[in-house]
Symmetry: D2
Subunit: 384 residues, 4 copies
């Protein structure tokens, strides 16, 4: 092979993400954008006929199309050309079992968030991946945006001084009415405890906001005081949550998560205030990072401009040509590919920027603390 | 007098607001904009020489320039052409005594916020004004913006359905360092318990955000859970507060107040979410009101466009020609003038839109509840 | 009089601006904001009864209320306490005669734009004012915005290098239909050659854009190539104009003026590009000035921030508390007041920032060149 | 093949776009996003070693990697599994010869803009493609943005009434200095007449703005009056152009194209004004379309919201999750794929939305008219 040849594409499989699914297609496009993965096997649905048709859509060979993820894990592990990594895009309650099956077969795992529906299950997966020296990626995908990574480098590098306040929110409007009672499958998954786990909006999107806050600041949660509510009659999980946070080292802040914020589309916003300025980022305009110093003029940093190396590495186009959701998601896949490739070749893997199992555990610990606080009328609760 | 002649200007005095003061000059400009007041008397400073020079600046006749507000109240009440109304723009701790002195002389009072430094004092003034049938205005001036008044009419009129969440913030960056230790007088007033009262940032600007939320929604506070902090070493009052709110009838929300939000100038923002949409308003761009329905497209209502009668009455220029802070403040003065004129002429005064003593009481009750909650580690506290 | 006493208010009169007028009230509010003028005389309407009632509205004494401006000029000049300055807010076609009448009586003139309806008339007034050593102000009011003045200081001070391109536009939507045929008086004035002069939208608002471009850059027009159109059937003056400009020294650019830009309110926007960056300003958000360097990050300069002395002097509030149209207009009145006061006291008047007769002449020369170019199918025409 | 199976991927080749090239990689990513093309052959560079390495980067088999595009065209045409379509991403001056070579071999062509460097050459290609019933796509890629397509449907569907004015600009800052003299290859291509053709910035980006205006409005150019300039000393082609346009049917407008607009990144903006409102779009925030009616409130249409079928078909994510430049580019590839597939299968191809040869011809006619007008001092010139 010539010098400079691109690394072999990663042999890759997928569980979940069959016809009609949203997030599975996102993972596939993200993987395709940089051409680092080759989709070769799948258990795209637990329904055999749907699994077969979905595999055909994805040009997966019939003999590598499964309905049973466990059978797939075994079959792929047995092939000399079996998949090296699998992405899991099933409903939440199946994440743990599926991830475990593949990790046990020595196959790297990229799991959609949440990593599991209980903290114990999440910790179980982290221990397993560590023991096997396997990648366990968790797709908190908003951390893939270049300007989020630049914000991280700014904040952690001291550009706004010691952090004092962190304000984050992830608010959606689409579940302002009882769509789950009208047969909307995406709505059902998010409001049915059997599929979503014990939390509604906090687990679904509050964890994204929480991860983003941690990702950018590097802070760890000290305690949370929460007020949750269920506004839509008949809904079985909370659909709105106000959370006050105390971070270790003294910073304070709040996170608001809602699926009943009527009129919002994808309202993910983060602001971090330090002693000497603040940064603000809004997912709907991801190429811009607002930086407002205490003394000096507000300015806007643009994706493609003079960025930190990590942010620069996450951008594909000059400033002014917009990148978006798929490109950010692809940055996680690119990060995971470089880890998998390094492990394949026995070289030291790069320090992961993209989130991994530890982030998945932190997310579940956050959810549990929030639910505990809410049950105790807003008492301050530390994550366990 | 001819039909259509303008009403006689209100004979007007001022306590506080001498040379170097900020807010006194704002009140004078606001009163002047619509030419409804004539400044005739003042106790602009308690220092006699400064009082004299300040009165001269304002073209007040020497014999009506005082250093002692009580003397001024007596003297003006004794004149046949004495002032009808007085504005109080002293530091907070003197509001109660000054207002009382003028109300007792039968003179209408327009008081800068907070109405007093204790809830009891505030209630005392309201009772006194009511007993004498006098105006007791409290200048929560942000309620004077036309688009805030339009938001009020939209929300109270049901345009976004029943209110579910209210998110407000008033965050400033200018006290991110210990300016009060460097002799900055404006900083001292806001951080010295003797002048500001028991609260720092909550009383100073949190009450503006709280008033705005009430003004627009018409909701009453049920309980608050608060987390306050003092970030700047040596500071004697809280400089940051995160507050979760429960409103009567079931709405939830949060208010964030800060004077250490480095990089913010005047960050007053309100969002109200109802069952069918939300509205958003930012004081820095006051002519725009964002309206985002659950079903339908986001739009921007502009000052000067098709507004509710109350909003229309509060605007002086066509859409696209910006109005600002002075014009909003002037709307309060205009409202107060119509009340004073009606009382003078024995006609029924209009329903006040501009805030009055009751709003001042609600603000102090809010502050007390916040401080109580913070003392009790965030317990939910009802206002008394 | 004590040291530090404010200067005596300027004794002031007005021609035009009676009941129902828009711009007269703007001038009065602008003059009042800083309390530098005292309105003592007026010929607010040529209709005697309307003149009388309008004067009463403005608290002008009956003996100083006129219907005939010439009589007013003579009467005021004859009084020992006669007005020192007059503002002219009549329809355009009367500006010259009215201004002349007052200048000839030794009274300073502040004239709404355009200074006249012909270039010759405008030059006549400038010569007369110069001969009498009188102020001849012309209210190109947008030059009063603080951030426009800061832009001027930046651009003229070299912050963006030598200017290469200037893009300006002043576009309105309100005359997208034939409102003048429905009896709208404001529409009639702007589309009737007898009142507006030979130009419609170019004279009405194109001149504002042109003045702003000159004001900020200091450049002089070399030649213009224009394409004008009348879109609304039956309209008698042009309602849309596209203009390419060449500036002395090599800069290029364009101005677009329209009153049929449906959906625009007051679309006045200026961008100036130099060798090393550009600035952009939008009248609807006047407190912000965008500065975008060639190398470096885009930033936003806010009114109230660190501004040039001229810009600082034009601002009354801290950054974040919005000022608007009245405040900008008041800055012209404040500038004129300092000139009038200096002339009164025999001290050297300050270098005028606010526009004067020369700017009025340049505006009319621009209009004439545009109309000539349009008549010659877009040939490049130099102003005479 | 099962019902619902995806169509076979198009066998695809590329000329140009080797190591270090920008636009070739954009085409490849765009093609990959929807997985409709399989890159099998290439003449990615005319340098043999660079061609070989670049092909290896793209996983092209060595026997299908060429340095000579003509040899590639012949070889692929001779293979039973030869490519069906080729993309041309060479410098402009080679577009015509390369496209001709492939069309003559019966291979569909997707050509980056401009289609050629002369109008005659462009017409030659259109005639050839028509004669052979082949696709000749021209990647005016900004027409791929969903909100541009929605704007097209709104405007052509009468939502803003008959069009009166069209204002467009495409302005860049990166060539504000003589980068071409410092060895920057991208700069050389755009300023060297031998490679770029007779026009600099008008051909490079002015044509994008012109195409966008035509694409959205459906109007045809009647005549243009232009003023071009070369600001950077030593530059051999124009780097700034102001153009006034008259459109058939009476609409007017202007286009500004610049590569010396210091501080701009990719300033592509379009506004279309009709009798009853206007629309505005800015490429840097492509998911938003501003719609401002004459009567009614300004609103923002978001990608993913309630869009026209054509716009909906061009979007992959819900509103609020941003799409960008690659996705828009991919929409052209998706359009071309459906045409190629239809032609392959003998079914009627869909009406092309993505631009084709005719648009390429219109672009060159525009450039020629602009250059003619500029040579004649701005005379109005009709396209031939």
């Amino acid at each position: 092979m010539d010098e400079g040849a691109p690394p072999r594409r990663i042999r890759w499989g997928m569980v979940g993400g069959g016809r009609g699914a949203f997030i599975g297609e996102v993972h596939r496009r993200a993987a395709r954008l940089d051409d680092g993965y080759e989709l070769l096997a799948g258990a795209l649905s637990s329904d055999p006929e749907r699994a077969r048709l979905s595999a055909q859509d994805c040009r997966i060979a019939p003999e590598r199309a499964h309905a049973d993820y466990a059978a797939m894990a075994r079959a792929e592990a047995a092939r000399p050309d079996g998949i090296e990594a699998v992405s899991i895009v099933t409903p939440n309650h199946r994440h743990h079992a599926v991830a475990k099956a593949f990790l046990e077969q020595g196959i790297h795992v990229i799991c959609d968030k949440p990593l599991a529906t209980s903290l114990a299950d999440a910790r179980d997966l982290v221990a397993l991946a560590r023991a096997r020296n396997l990648l366990l990626g968790v797709t908190y995908n908003y951390s893939g945006y270049p300007m989020v990574r630049h914000a991280r480098d700014l904040v952690r590098g001291g550009a706004i001084g010691r952090v004092r306040m962190v304000q984050a929110e992830f608010v959606l409007g689409w579940l302002s009415t009882a769509l789950e009672a009208e047969g909307a499958k995406q709505a059902e998954w998010r409001t049915d405890p059997a599929q979503a786990g014990p939390s509604g909006v906090v687990g679904d999107v509050g964890t994204h906001a929480f991860h983003l806050a941690q990702f950018v600041t590097g802070l760890e949660l000290e305690a949370v005081s929460a007020d949750i509510a269920t506004f839509v009659p008949g809904r079985r999980l909370e659909d709105n949550a106000t959370m006050m946070l105390r971070w270790r080292g003294g910073a304070r802040g709040a996170i608001w998560a809602s699926m009943v914020a009527a009129g919002e589309t994808v309202g993910l916003r983060l602001r971090v205030y330090g002693e000497t300025g603040h940064i603000a980022w809004d997912q709907s305009y991801p190429d811009d990072l607002q930086v407002r110093p205490l003394n000096g003029e507000a300015h806007v940093l643009a994706r493609g401009g003079k960025l930190s190396p990590a942010a620069k590495a996450a951008t594909r186009l000059v400033a002014g040509l917009p990148e978006g959701f798929f490109e950010a998601f692809a940055n996680l896949y690119r990060d995971y590919a470089s880890i998998i490739t390094a492990l394949r070749e026995g070289t030291p893997p790069p320090e992961p920027i993209a989130p991994t199992g530890e982030d998945g555990v932190a997310g579940l610990a956050f959810v549990e603390a929030v639910l505990n606080s809410a049950r105790r009328d807003g008492a301050w609760v530390r994550p366990t």
